[in-house]
């Protein structure tokens, strides 16, 4: 068979060549997992495609999927693609997220992404239905695919018609829409073509020295590029098994991941940094009996800054369960590039540099000496094939090795711009280069990421925009309008950041301040952000930036560095 030109054709090839092999192992805590073979998932996808077609969904239209961990999610996704429509997985709202906030976020997202249909669970109907009826809404209808009866025999003439639609899809057509991480309606939509994804599959497999024996295990949500592309699309298109654990179950019972590795003999897994700490410290010792991680070939750290202490904690705990330290690996990438830009070399130790922290903050890479305050930096590896990257200064001029600057990139799997968002695209793209907003440096062809241009807070691999938090907190009574800042504070125990808020208030008594603090925490909850620490400052305490707004960076430094008696915190 020729090399497939669309994902549907890749799935068809796998259904024909490896019909009985496990495609997706859908993990459910305390139960036998549900197993899709390459043949059975393909047949189920065909059935879903008939329903999608009968719903009136057409080629090129975007179908948002908002469904919890469910075995039918995968063939539904594939069925949408067969009709030429574009699947886009969105996060199922956390119960703490206020329904109005969820609706507003979805509305904002729909306008940008051009969401045409929403495929969800019945429970969300009361929230979503009003969006369709609203004048000017881009969303045309809502459907409940988990209620569709898949036991009915397929209508053969309809199936032929859909297959011919699938055959008319070109490799340069868009395949999916994924969103850059973020909160509410601020996520940026990224459409990826069949060609970009299929090339990325081959390039990533080559970089990671993937063989037919590999099995990917994941607890990552599928609305995140690392979960969607790394753990779902790449194995599914390559004919490899992937095992999917619910992120909600995993966070409550992290033992599920090591159990799945042991039972399924998984070889690869992507995780954000905090998960290394979480696994090392939060599994009850008696539940680790019988755990064997000897099959793991690559445990790939990505989606938030890599901390060497997290790797050390992980090794301290799991080497005794046969985890090979050389399986620790790293990735740097972003949804705009489909997934990856760099990978560390499989089976080799990660390059770790001990640098002078002060020099680094001045933008220079200098190895630490006896007088240095040390910052340990872990390499994200080398560029994958078809990718190029430069470190640039504020004027976007290339800097030599050893200088810190913004990472700008180009790759064959890169997006063409944010969907329906030309002004944002213009900000980040120039002459074919995408400017990532991440700060880093390069030494001996290896890339190191050390910070971010924007004040994004990364909590457990999830990007939060301080503007969202500030806007919500700003509406509270007792706070001086416009005098709120949100920022991230490092949590070494958990290996990630936590959200802090500082606000100016005229309130003086301890009791009033405590009440205001709880209101601030609740405001965070309404947008599904857990605020960890609240600082309250008297009027005019916050330092303003040149633009006249309170400066996040300067105020964060001032709060963290000193014990100002004027500051109340809890």
């Amino acid at each position: 068979m020729d090399k497939p030109n669309t994902l549907w054709n890749a799935w068809k090839r796998n259904a024909e060549s490896e019909p009985g092999r496990d495609a997706i192992v859908h993990w459910i805590a305390g139960e036998e997992p549900f197993r899709w073979t390459f043949k059975s998932i393909f047949e189920a996808a065909k059935k879903f495609s008939s329903f999608i077609h009968n719903c009136g969904i057409k080629k090129g239209e975007v179908c948002a999927i908002i469904i919890r961990h469910n075995a039918n999610l995968y063939p539904l996704y594939m069925g949408i693609s067969r009709t030429g429509a574009l699947p886009a997985i969105l996060a199922y709202p956390n119960p703490r997220l206020h329904p109005d906030k969820f609706r507003q976020g979805l509305e904002g997202m729909a306008q940008r992404s051009g969401l045409d249909y929403i495929l969800t669970e019945r429970e969300l109907e009361p929230i979503i239905r009003p969006l369709i009826e609203k004048p000017g809404s881009t969303i045309r209808n809502v459907f409940f695919p988990l209620e569709w009866d898949l036991t009915k025999p397929a209508d053969e003439s309809l199936d032929e018609e859909i297959e011919s639609i699938a055959g008319s899809v070109k490799e340069t057509d868009y395949f999916l829409v994924q969103h850059s991480s973020g909160t509410t309606g601020l996520q940026k939509p990224i459409a990826i073509t069949h060609k970009a994804l299929l090339e990325h599959v081959d390039i990533c497999n080559e970089a990671l020295k993937v063989t037919g024996q590999d099995k990917v295990v994941s607890w990552l949500p599928l609305y995140h590029d690392m979960g969607l592309i790394g753990a779902f699309h790449i194995p599914l298109a390559s004919g490899l098994t992937s095992i999917h654990i619910s992120p909600f179950e995993w966070i409550l019972a992290p033992v599920l991941l090591v159990e799945a590795i042991t039972k399924e003999k998984a070889t690869m897994c992507y995780m954000p940094n905090f998960a290394y700490n979480f696994l090392a410290e939060k599994i009850p010792a008696e539940e680790l009996e019988g755990i064997d991680l000897g099959s793991m070939r690559l445990l790939i750290n990505g989606a938030e800054p890599i901390r060497s202490e997290s790797h050390e904690k992980f090794l301290d705990q799991f080497v005794k369960y046969n985890f090979n330290p050389l399986a620790l690996a790293s990735v740097y990438g972003m949804a705009e590039l489909t997934l990856a830009l760099t990978y560390s070399e499989p089976g080799k130790p990660l390059t770790t540099l001990r640098l002078d922290r002060n020099k680094l903050s001045e933008g220079r890479v200098k190895f630490a000496d006896e007088n240095s305050v040390i910052r340990t930096c872990i390499s994200c590896g080398k560029l994958i094939k078809g990718a190029d990257a430069r470190i640039v200064d504020v004027n976007r001029r290339e800097l030599p090795d050893g200088f810190v600057g913004e990472i700008s990139v180009k790759s064959v799997s890169m997006f063409e711009g944010y969907r329906n968002y030309p002004e944002k695209t213009a900000e980040v793209m120039q002459d074919g280069w995408y400017f990532t907003g991440d700060y880093g440096f390069k030494i001996n062809d290896e890339f190191y990421v050390i910070g971010r241009k924007k004040d994004i807070i990364i909590v457990a691999g999830k990007n939060l925009y301080p503007e969202d938090i500030e806007e919500t907190v700003n509406q509270l009574e007792g706070i001086i309008p416009g005098r709120v800042i949100a920022f991230g504070e490092e949590d070494p125990e958990l290996g990630t950041e936590k959200v802090s808020v500082v606000a100016e208030t005229k309130l003086e008594s301890e009791k009033e301040k405590n009440v205001l603090r709880v209101e601030i925490l609740k405001a965070g909850m309404s947008i599904d952000v857990n605020i960890n620490k609240v600082y309250l400052a008297p009027p005019r305490w916050l330092i303003k930036s040149s633009a006249g707004k309170p400066s996040r960076k300067a105020n964060k430094e001032r709060l963290i560095s000193g014990e100002d008696p004027l500051i109340w915190s809890r």
Binding site: G30, R96, I251
Partner: protein
């Protein structure tokens, strides 16, 4: 009915002085009680009552009333 003792352990772990918690209360209703802090609350409850929960038992908890019943069942053994 949840006991004052359990309520105090939860509120202390969440750094809250007072917050209405009853049998029906679920984690997302309580400030600070998210999926990342959940495991710390469970450990605090285990340590306070000198009991041990299995991961599967923790996964099945739907509200604070369930947590109270789980504690009670461990203490009565």
């Amino acid at each position: 009915m949840i006991t004052d003792e359990l309520k105090k352990v939860i509120l202390k772990q969440l750094n809250l002085d007072e917050f209405e918690i009853n049998d029906e209360t679920t984690a997302p209703e309580v400030p600070g009680w998210d999926s990342l802090s959940h495991v710390n609350i469970i450990v605090a409850v285990e340590e306070h009552f000198k009991v041990k929960f299995k991961s599967m038992e923790v996964l099945k908890l739907k509200n604070v009333g369930d947590l109270q019943r789980l504690v009670d069942s461990k203490l009565s053994k």
